[in-house]
Amino acid sequence: MAAAVVETHALGKSFGLVPVLLEVDLSVAAGHAAVIIGGNGAGKSTLLAILAGLAAPSTGNALVFGQDTRRLDPDGRRQIGMLSHRSFLYPNLTASENLEFYATLYGVENPHGAAQTWLRRVGLANFAAERVRMYSRGMEQRLAAARAMIAAPMLLLLDEPFAALDSDGVAIMADLIRAELARGCAVIVSAHGQASIDGIELDQYEISHGQLESLTDRIEPSRASRLRSLLGRQNP
């Protein structure tokens, strides 16, 4: 197995006296995908925020590329892409300007060319000059995915990536995830229900009451392969 990109050890997080994550152990290797399933407020987004270096663990530790996420250096941060509930996009900039801005921050060569390429990949080339404030929620989600991936990160954190997407959007997002995995990127996806993407082996975890449990170990192989037949479909 490839070296672990993400490793957490007895990771815990509390907000005040309320524990959100308890003793979470997770390991994801390069080129592998994990899906974390849980209900609202289960701690999925908090876990992803900790892995992105945006929140500090209360107990235990989280390592990304061998670095403690509390002290990620610029090179470590450069290798992480995140699609969050919030789009991280500037409503008064056009789609193209948003992508060029982030490409510049990440030191991407030819930011303009990269922006145009990614706009085509997410099916928004015809709306490149539109300000993001005019976008529908689904279009914004596609653009946010392009923003997260434009710098070719080696770890992708996708918080409910299929939310608000139509069937075309779901297909595009699945294609993007497949391509990123094929490139060797580690992918962690959060979802409300069991998720599957054709052609991708997903390590499934369930998070409940702050505790993370592997579902992959509990599901027999034949059932696991049937699960993968649904493209991005999430059960409530």
């Binding site: 929140a55 996009l89 500037y90």
Partner: protein, 223 residues
Amino acid sequence: MSAFAAVLSKDLRLELRSGISTIAMVALAMLVLVVLVFALGPGVARGPEAAAGALWIALVFAGMLGASRALLSENENGCIRALLMSPVDRATLYAAKLTASAVFMIVAVAAGAILTVLFFNLDFSGALARLAPILFLGVIGFAALATLLAAISGRARGGELLLPLLIVPMFVPALIAGVRASIVALSGAPMATARDWIGILVAFDVLFVTAGYLLFEHVIGEE
């Protein structure tokens, strides 16, 4: 393009499109000056003392309204998180935000200075030329303080309400020095007599620009 230039040009472009900060600051500066002229009355509202005081009150109020907008606007759609996740050095982010805030404020303060000279019946060309460097120092100090405190208060509940309460008391030394130096500039006295006051303004700027540059990473970091 460097990260500094990218963040700064993005902020300036957003401001050119919306004009929110600059228009609000210019309007407030005008309003403060008009109110003061009416409140002081035609007899008192003449002379460099009243003009300098009015101008710096306008600077403080306009700055409170808009100087921290460059940073607070990043909260929309969670963009601040994307900036923190990026490989850009946080001191560079501070420098870009400080510069953007200072540019917004300079526009408002320039308008305020012209109105002050008009309302208080002062010598136009000489007064403005002598005032400009003093106001510039005041703007830099205010923007440095506001950007740093906005980063701190942005993490607190009701931070935007807290911000003016933090800024004004800390800006008082610069305010006193700025008013005194401006009185000298507007009265036509030799600028050498304002050397000590200008020295305090420079020291204030150096202190808060340096503090912001060094502390920004720690105050805007993780949750």
